[in-house]
Amino acid sequence: MKTRDQEIEACILHLRRFAHALTGDGDRADDLVQDTVERALSRWNLRKPGLELRPWLFTILRNLHISAHRRALRMVSDQHADIETVHSLDSSAEQRIELKQVLDLLSALPDEQRMAILLVSVEGFSYAEASKIMNIPQGTLMSRLNRARGKLRELVSTPPAQRLRRVK
């Protein structure tokens, strides 16, 4: 019991980072992570033996994110359309602005491409793990990675934006 809790808590920080980068919104990310862990607890006994905890939790989060996303698309009016959240961190304003720029950059990618690049490049999952989490063949994962990289290169080298300019 104890070790299980510790194992999950250790994953939560990674889940929060992934969710934040995925949604671009710290508060929404934390709600998503909470739902993920609650779902995991309720399904603990259904978990396939030998399945590693971290990819399993990421899979749950990904599924919840997708269904929440579909729900949001169905909602007709979005009153907060022009309100964006700048998440508060215990860090300097410069870091915060840099984070905002990266989140903006990521938000320019389609959901599935953003997920692919985050899982592989930021969370360090292998191609096999990432394609399992996303429930797609590895070839599909690779082409999403390719498209994500192409788009990011294009965005970064757009002259006026200078979005990836290091602040320090």
Partner: protein, 257 residues
């Protein structure tokens, strides 16, 4: 290319970027890239972008775990939620029993319940900003000369300590402040001015609830940055850039805990 080896493909290039190649293959890819400078530049750019993403996002995963995510708290909330849902279901069952198919409307209520963003105070702050900023004769009710009095007076009316942040280092001189009718009672407005005469206001309204992140919105030429300190909802409004608003808000925030 050496005979008998597979030609270098996009999959190799991706795996090179992600450090997923074994030593032999990586050496081969490096050799190939030396002969293809265009692609090498592309691949280097990809590596640079991946590193930037990783480094910038790293702090998000390197913070202390909020209480909300302690397993005992998650478990307790899960139990509460279950109890709540059972009550809702029970209520729905009763309603369906009473009104037949009419109980169907409850369906919609069961599906909602997400937290709302602070919006009414942004609307109130913008309205007050637009009314008092162009004012020539009486932009403020109590001038900056009576700074201490302004703080005590607003504090008494809002029912909690009200900060009068010193923003001179940010190039903003305090003009004074006034009491306003807010959506749920008294609210306050502080007004500052830059050397070039641009006016920035800080709207303050009592609240309860946990501290929040900054929410930025833009309406025409003015930007607003709203956040919650735990005791006050604050909205910073002015004809300045978002990053500038964030910078100023960082100076105000510690004073408004």
């Amino acid at each position: 290319m050496t005979q008998g080896t597979r030609p270098i493909g996009e999959d190799d290039l991706n795996a090179y970027v992600d450090g997923a190649l074994d030593d032999a293959r990586r050496a081969l890819v490096e050799q190939w890239l030396r002969a293809h400078p265009d692609i090498r530049r592309r691949v280097e750019k990809d590596i640079e972008i991946a590193r930037h993403l990783r480094e910038t996002l790293a702090p998000l995963g390197d913070v202390s775990l909020p209480d909300r995510f302690r397993m005992e708290n998650l478990r307790a909330r899960r139990r509460q939620r279950w109890a709540g849902r059972l009550r809702q279901v029970a209520a729905a069952v009763v309603l369906v029993a009473i009104s037949g198919a009419g109980g169907w409307i409850l369906r919609g209520q069961l599906a909602t319940g997400a937290g709302a963003a602070p919006e009414t105070e942004v609307v109130a702050a913008l309205a007050a900003h637009r009314v008092f900023v162009p004012e020539k004769l009486h932009p403020v009710e109590v001038s900056a000369k009576a700074r201490d009095h302004l703080g005590t007076w607003l504090g008494n009316r809002l029912g909690r300590p009200v900060p009068i942040p010193d923003l001179t280092d940010e190039g903003l001189t305090l003009m004074g402040g006034r009491l306003l009718p807010g959506p749920d009672g008294p609210a306050g407005q502080l007004m500052y001015q830059t050397a070039s005469g641009k006016r920035v206001t800080l709207y303050l309204q009592p609240t309860r609830g946990k501290a929040s992140a900054f929410a930025f919105a833009r309406k025409g030429d003015v930007g607003t940055l709203a956040w919650r300190s735990g005791r006050l909802d604050l909205v910073l409004t002015g004809p300045i850039a978002r990053d500038e608003l964030i910078r100023i808000a960082h100076v105000i925030r510690p004073a408004a805990l």
